[in-house]
């Protein structure tokens, strides 16, 4: 028997509201499959299941808000019969101590099984749900697309049918939708504030900065992009991420988690990327195994991650997998960012805007593209000496982009 529980959705989210089940009792579930959609203060999240099994019971009704870790469904494993699992989750006999058996917790929840959902439940993508909210369209009024599911395109088509101006543009959100957006923004601000307050309270931060000459990197990008079509064009951000990942291999004490008074190194280099949302706030979903991927793959995955984050279509693992965070102000920002570490991580790397600055070369001055890289790190795990060596490694790696951009074994 497998208890499927609401997984962690990152340090700043401690509860979620079940929007819909994507599976029904009797369905076979594969590892990594999306089984439900849960709304949080930040976004609707596709929640993945991490076991193979068959759904026996759903324990939570859509519309219910539950804390992280709450049992949501009971699955049976291969070889188990329905009756066997029912016996396991049957109410414990009155004699048993409530804290003794782990099954007692399940039993108390499982005794009230959810009424069978209608057989023809509509499948609605989180992106479609969010867009409908923005546009002030009732999602239930949107007809299904060809696949039998309601996708983003179906919502936009419904919006076009409703609004008839000659030039297609997003209609102003209606009053109730706008109120919901404002509420969501306020709620998001609250959870970000709580997570960052916890970080500043618990983590003894230290900060370092280094100006990095970017001539080699920007020349390499320009040379690459000169022969690439728009669909394959490279951004600077993936090159910076790749560089951080390569440097982290030499400084594992900056990559991982601080939990239960001890540091645990990350099992891979999964970089949480700070992505701002258009309506305000930010989410830091992770790009997995950045060191093991080449620059083209990171570029593609980063663009996809940004698109899905802003469309409200993230997976639960992406929210909790980050072993470090990188925040980049982009070309509209300012010179440097000193970040707040995202607990339970132990470091955050920041990049400011690339600017032309005077740079001393061979006893003379010339104008050159320069970026300021910063490190905020946890003094319980590392110190300024090692942190400084890390930033120096980052600086040196960026001088040789062609070497850097390959996948590492």
């Amino acid at each position: 028997m497998i208890e499927f529980r609401l997984p962690s959705l990152g340090a700043d989210m401690d509860e979620g509201k079940l929007l819909e089940w994507r599976v029904q009792p009797g369905d076979a579930v594969k590892k990594g499959q999306i089984v439900c959609v849960v709304d949080t203060a930040k976004a609707a999240i596709d929640v993945e299941c991490w076991h193979d099994g068959t759904v026996q019971r759903l324990l939570v009704e859509p519309g219910t808000t539950i804390p992280i870790g709450t049992p949501m469904a009971i699955l049976r494993e291969a070889g188990e019969s329905e009756a066997q699992v029912e016996r396991l989750i049957a109410p414990a006999p009155p004699a048993s101590k409530p804290t003794a058996a782990p099954t007692a917790v399940v039993a108390s929840v499982a005794t009230a099984p959810v009424a069978a959902a209608p057989a023809q439940r509509r499948r609605i993508s989180p992106a479609a749900r969010k867009r409908a909210l923005q546009l002030g369209i009732g999602i239930d009024d949107v007809p299904e697309g060809a696949e039998g599911t309601v996708e983003l395109a179906d919502v936009e088509q419904a919006a076009r049918k409703r609004a008839t101006p000659p030039i297609a543009r997003a209609p102003a959100p209606s009053a109730p939708a706008a109120a919901t957006m404002a509420e969501r923004a306020a709620q998001m601000r609250k959870v970000i504030g709580a997570a960052m307050a916890r970080s500043k309270r618990e983590i003894p931060h230290y900060y370092l900065a280094e100006d990095v000459l970017l001539t080699a990197a920007t020349d390499w990008l320009a040379e690459q992009n000169a022969s690439r079509g728009v669909a394959d064009r490279l951004l600077l951000a993936p090159l910076l991420l790749k560089c951080v990942a390569a440097a982290l291999r030499r400084f594992p004490e900056l990559n991982g988690y601080y939990r239960d008074d001890a540091f645990a190194a990350g099992e891979g280099i999964h970089i949480g990327v700070a992505i701002s949302l258009r309506a305000g706030g930010l989410i830091t979903p992770a790009l997995m195994d950045v060191d093991r991927k080449d620059i083209d793959q990171i570029n593609r995955e980063l663009l996809d991650l940004i698109r899905r984050t802003r469309a409200g279509s993230l997976k639960s693992t992406e929210l909790s997998a980050g072993t470090i965070t990188v925040t980049s102000l982009g070309d509209q920002g300012v010179g440097a960012v000193y970040g707040v570490i995202y607990p339970p991580q132990v470091a955050l790397v920041g990049f400011g805007r690339v600017t032309e600055r005077p740079w001393a070369v061979d006893g003379g001055l010339r104008a050159a593209p320069v970026i300021t890289a910063t490190l905020a790190a946890d003094h319980r795990v590392s110190d300024g000496h090692r942190g400084g060596l890390f930033l120096a490694a980052l600086r040196d790696l960026l001088q040789n982009p062609a070497e850097l951009t390959k996948a590492m074994p």
């Binding site: 030039i167 543009r169 064009r233 600077l236 663009l303 982009g330 509209q332």
Partner: protein, 80 residues
């Protein structure tokens, strides 16, 4: 495709990236990125959307100069 249709196509690509903007309020001669909050990923996605809509693949070296709606319309008009 006349100038108005071209502008409509460009605005449509833009609102696909930044749904919150009021396309009618944009000043065509002013820098676009002073009026709309677009980061480098948004900008690239905008170029990809233009390519899909109009079949114009704007080279990296040209894209940097296309800072206003007017310039975008002129450029795309010549390329079509």
């Amino acid at each position: 495709m006349n100038r108005e249709e071209l502008l409509a196509a460009i605005l449509d690509a833009l609102t696909g990236i930044a749904p919150e903007i009021d396309a009618t309020a944009l000043a065509p001669a002013k820098p676009l990125r002073d009026q709309v909050d677009l980061d480098s990923a948004d900008w690239l996605n905008f170029l990809v959307a233009l390519h899909a809509r109009l079949g114009i693949d704007i080279p990296d070296a040209d894209a940097a100069r296309l800072t206003t709606l007017d310039r975008l319309v002129d450029y795309c008009g010549k390329k079509l």
